[in-house]
C-alpha cells in the first residue's frame, strides 16, 4: 500500500510536470537534516561490527550502515554521531529517540520487531550462536558441556538460546551473566567459566582480545539462527525505507559489480540500465525516498558496496577473519543468503 502510494504520488507529480518527484515525508529525516547528523546506536566495542580503531574512528559492518545512510542523506559518510550502548540499554536508546538507527549486532526476532515497537530494515550479517572453550579442556562438542560454567552477557537472545539449548539436550549449566563485553571476557579468561558463548562472529572477534587466542577454540555447533540487522522505530516507515534501501543499494551494487573504485566510471559511461538507475542517471529513485538522486552513488563511492564493507571489516584479511565463501553471508548468486530486493 505504502509503496503504491509512493509510486502513485511519484507518477502524479511527474505527469503534472512539477519537476520533482514527491518524496514521502519522514519526521526522522527532517530532524536528522536539521541536526546535520545521523544518530546511530552502536556497541561499545565489537571487533568487526562496531568499534573505534586506534585513532578513535568508528569502524565495522554495523558502523558502515550508518555511514552509508549519512552518505545518502548528506553526501558525506562522517555526519554520524555514534552512541555506544550496552546490550541492555540499546533498545531503550532507540525507543526513546536518543538514536534513530540501532545498528548494533542485534538479532531480528518477532518479539523485538512487534513488541518492542521496532522495524528491522534488513539483514547485514547471518550469524549463529556458538561456544568457545579452552583447548586444554579436551572438549570437542557442545554436547559434552553438561555441568559447565558458562559466561554469557546479559539481556541478549544469547542468554535465551543458551537456556533453550541446555534444556533441549537435558544438560545442566551454571550461568555467569555479566553486563559489559569486556568484563565478561575477563571473567572467562581468568577461568571463572569453562565456556564463553555469544554469536560466532562475536566469538571470532572476542578471541582476538584474549592474551593467548591460540589456546582457545570455537566448538563446531551453531545453536541458533541470528540474523543481525539494523532497526528503526516503528511508526516512521519513510525513515525505515531509507535505511532499508541504502542496505539493498549496497548489495545490489556488489551483485552488479559496482565498487567504490569503478563507480565514477560506471556513472559516466555505463549503458546498463541497472547501473544507470542505481547511480541516479535515470529515474527518480532518490527523490522518492526524499533524498537526492545520487544517494546510492554517494553510498558506493564513500562507503563501498556490501562486499567491500564485509572484506574491510570482518573478511579473511582482518583480525576477525570470518571467511565469506560458502557461508550464508555470500551473495545469493554464490550460494549465500545475501539478496537485494530490486532497486527500481
Amino acid at each position: 500500500m505504502k509503496k503504491l502510494n509512493i509510486l502513485a504520488a511519484g507518477a502524479a507529480f511527474t505527469f503534472a510536470a512539477v519537476g520533482a518527484a514527491q518524496a514521502q515525508t519522514s519526521p526522522t529525516l527532517e530532524a536528522t537534516k536539521q541536526r546535520g547528523q545521523v544518530n546511530c546506536i552502536v556497541s561499545e566495542a565489537t571487533a568487526g561490527f562496531s568499534s573505534p580503531d586506534d585513532k578513535g574512528v568508528w569502524r565495522g559492518i554495523d558502523v558502515d550502515v550508518c555511514r552509508a545512510v549519512s552518505s545518502a542523506i548528506f553526501g558525506s559518510p562522517d555526519k554520524v554521531k555514534f552512541i555506544p550502548t550496552t546490550s541492555k540499554v540499546r533498545f531503550t536508546a532507540l525507543q526513546s529517540g536518543e538514536g534513530d538507527i540501532l545498528s548494533r549486532n542485534t538479532t531480528w526476532t518477532l518479539v523485538r520487531d512487534v513488541n518492542l515497537g521496532f522495524e528491522f530494515t534488513g539483514v547485514t550479517f547471518y550469524d549463529g550462536q556458538g561456544f568457545m572453550v579452552r583447548k586444554s579442556l579436551g572438549v570437542k562438542s557442545a554436547k559434552e558441556l553438561d555441568g559447565a560454567s558458562v559466561c554469557v552477557s546479559t539481556g541478549t537472545t544469547t542468554e535465551l538460546n543458551l537456556a533453550d539449548y541446555f534444556r533441549a539436550n537435558n544438560m545442566k549449566y551454571n550461568g555467569v551473566v555479566i553486563e559489559g563485553a569486556d568484563a565478561i571476557i575477563k571473567a572467562y579468561e581468568s577461568g571463572r567459566c569453562d565456556v564463553y558463548t555469544t554469536d560466532k562472529s562475536g566469538l571470532a572477534g572476542d578471541r582476538t582480545k584474549l592474551s593467548a587466542p591460540d589456546e582457545h577454540m570455537i566448538l563446531p555447533e551453531t545453536i541458533s539462527k541470528e540474523p543481525l540487522g539494523p532497526s528503526v522505530r516503528h511508526g516512521d516507515q519513510a525513515w525505515g525505507d531509507i535505511v532499508r534501501w541504502v542496505q539493498y543499494a549496497m548489495i545490489e551494487a556488489e551483485e552488479y559489480g559496482v565498487t567504490s573504485a569503478n563507480v565514477d566510471d560506471l556513472k559516466a559511461n555505463s549503458t546498463n540500465p541497472v547501473h544507470r538507475r542505481l547511480l541516479g542517471v535515470e529515474g527518480d529513485l532518490g527523490k522518492m525516498l526524499g533524498l537526492s538522486n545520487d544517494w546510492a552513488y554517494n553510498v558506493i563511492k564513500q562507503v563501498g558496496n556490501y562486499g567491500e564493507s564485509y572484506e574491510r571489516n570482518v573478511g579473511p584479511s582482518t583480525r576477525v577473519n570470518i571467511p565469506r565463501e560458502g557461508s550464508p553471508n555470500a551473495l545469493w548468486t554464490k550460494g549465500g543468503l545475501i539478496y537485494a530486493i530490486p532497486v527500481r
Binding site: T92, N115, L137, N174, V176, S190
Partner: protein
C-alpha cells in the same frame, strides 16, 4: 471554605480576594491542580507514545515464561518459570546480600570505630588509614577489584582448596556440605527456641533482681551458654540425625553441596568494607560526642572501664550513632544494585536488566523496581526510627 467565611456574622467583611486565608487555600488548590495535570500529561504522553510505537503495556508479562536461567537462586527456579518468579528470585537475592551485608558492616564498622579511638598509636593510625582508603575509592572499582582478585588468585575447580569441615574453595565459588535432615532432627531447633526463650526470661529476672537488691547475675553469659550448649546436647542425644552431601569434582565443576558464587563474595566484601569505613567514622563521632565528664563521673563512682563503656558511654553514643547509621544501611542496600557489574543476580540485574531487555517494558519494570527499593528503604527507616526512639535520651 468560602461558605464558612460567608456565614460568619462579620459586620465588615473583606472581599474574598483580600482574605489571606481564602487566597492561600485558592493558591494551594491551583497548585494541586497544576501538579496533577502535569503528571496526567506526562502519563498520557507516555501511554500515547507507547501505543503509537506499538510497544505493549501493562503487567501481564509477569505471568509469561522467562526462558532464561539464573545462576544463584534461593528458591527453586528454572528457565520454564515466569518473569514474576524471576522477580522474586532477584528480590530475595537483593534482600539476602543486603541483610548479610548490613550485619557484617555493622560489626566491622563498630570494631573499626572503636579501634580508631584506641590509645595504641599503631592501631589507631592503621584504622585511620583503612577508613580514608576505603571510603575514598569508588565502590564500583572495589567490587571489580575483589571480583578479579578472587577469580584470578583462587585455583580452578580441578585444584580446589580443601578447607576444614568439608568446605571447598575454587574460583567457581565457596562450597559447603549440604545438610539433609533425618527424622529426629526436629528436637534440636525446638530446644534452641526453648533456650532462647529461657535466656530472655533469665535476663529479665536478673534485671529485676538487680534493681531490687543490687546483686548482679551474669545473665548474658549464662544465656549465651544456654543457647549454644542445650541444642548441641539435644543434637548429640538424638544421635546426630543429619547426613551431609559433600561437594566433589564431577565433570567441569564440583557437584553437590551449597555453593556461594564468587560474584556474591566479591560484592559482599566490597559492600561490607566500603560501608564499614563510613560506619566506623559514625561510631567514632558518636563516642567522641559523649562528654569526657561522663567517663570521669563513672570512674569516680567506681565502675570498671568495661562497665563504663557498656552502661554509660555506648547508650549515650547510640542516640547520636543511630540516625546516620540508618543512612548507611539504606546506602548499602541501594548500592547492592551494582551487582550487575559482576553478575550477581540481584533485583536490578535480573529484573531491571534481563527481564526489561526481553520484554522491553521499561516503564513498568523500572516502576516496580523503584517501588521495591522504596519499600525496602522505608522499612529499614521505620525499624531504625523505632530503635532510635528506644535509645533516645528520655528527658524527665
Amino acid at each position: 471554605m468560602a461558605t464558612d467565611v460567608k456565614d460568619e456574622p462579620q459586620p465588615v467583611r473583606p472581599n474574598i480576594w483580600n482574605d489571606a486565608r481564602a487566597r492561600a487555600v485558592f493558591l494551594q488548590i491551583i497548585m494541586v491542580i497544576l501538579v496533577v495535570a502535569g503528571f496526567a500529561y506526562i502519563a498520557d504522553n507516555a501511554i500515547t507514545n507507547l501505543r503509537r510505537l506499538n510497544i505493549s503495556t501493562g503487567f501481564g508479562f509477569l505471568g509469561t515464561t522467562a526462558s532464561f536461567d539464573i545462576g544463584f537462586t534461593l528458591i527453586s527456579y528454572s528457565a520454564a518459570s515466569t518473569y514474576g518468579r524471576a522477580f522474586l528470585v532477584g528480590l530475595l537475592n537483593t534482600l539476602f546480600i543486603s541483610s548479610i551485608g548490613v550485619v557484617l558492616a555493622t560489626i566491622l564498622g563498630f570494631t573499626v570505630g572503636v579501634l580508631r579511638l584506641s590509645n595504641n598509636w599503631l592501631i589507631s593510625k592503621l584504622m585511620g588509614a583503612y577508613v580514608e582508603i576505603m571510603r575514598n575509592i569508588p565502590l564500583l572499582l572495589q567490587i571489580f577489584f575483589w571480583y578479579f582478585v578472587i577469580i584470578n588468585t583462587v585455583p580452578g575447580p580441578r585444584g580446589s582448596l580443601a578447607l576444614p569441615l568439608g568446605v571447598m574453595l575454587n574460583n567457581r565459588g565457596l562450597y559447603s556440605p549440604d545438610p539433609t535432615f533425618l527424622p529426629g532432627f526436629s528436637a534440636t531447633p525446638i530446644v534452641l527456641i526453648l533456650a532462647i526463650i529461657g535466656s530472655i526470661i533469665l535476663h529479665r529476672w536478673s534485671r529485676k533482681r538487680q534493681e531490687a537488691t543490687g546483686q548482679h547475675f551474669p545473665s548474658i553469659l549464662t544465656g549465651l551458654g544456654m543457647i549454644v550448649c542445650l541444642p548441641v546436647i539435644a543434637f548429640l542425644v538424638t544421635g546426630k540425625p543429619v547426613s551431609w552431601t559433600f561437594p566433589e569434582l564431577r565433570g567441569f565443576n564440583l557437584q553437590g553441596g551449597v555453593q556461594l558464587p564468587p560474584e556474591f563474595v566479591a560484592l559482599l566484601m566490597a559492600l561490607v568494607i566500603y560501608s564499614s569505613a563510613f560506619i566506623g567514622e559514625i561510631v567514632r563521632a558518636g563516642i567522641l560526642a559523649v562528654s569526657k565528664g561522663q567517663t570521669e563521673a563513672a570512674y569516680s563512682l567506681g565502675l570498671k572501664p568495661s562497665f563504663t563503656l557498656r552502661l554509660v558511654i555506648i547508650p549515650q553514643a547510640l542516640r547520636i550513632i543511630v540516625p546516620p547509621l540508618t543512612s548507611q544501611y539504606l546506602n548499602l542496600t541501594k548500592n547492592s544494585s551494582l551487582a550487575a557489574a559482576v553478575g550477581y543476580p540481584d533485583l536490578v540485574h535480573i529484573f531491571a536488566g534481563t527481564t526489561l531487555n526481553q520484554t522491553g517494558q521499561a516503564i513498568e519494570i523500572i516502576f516496580i523496581t523503584m517501588m521495591v527499593y522504596l519499600t525496602i528503604s522505608l522499612s529499614i527507616s521505620a525499624f531504625m526510627n523505632w530503635y532510635n526512639q528506644r535509645v533516645a535520651l528520655v528527658e524527665r
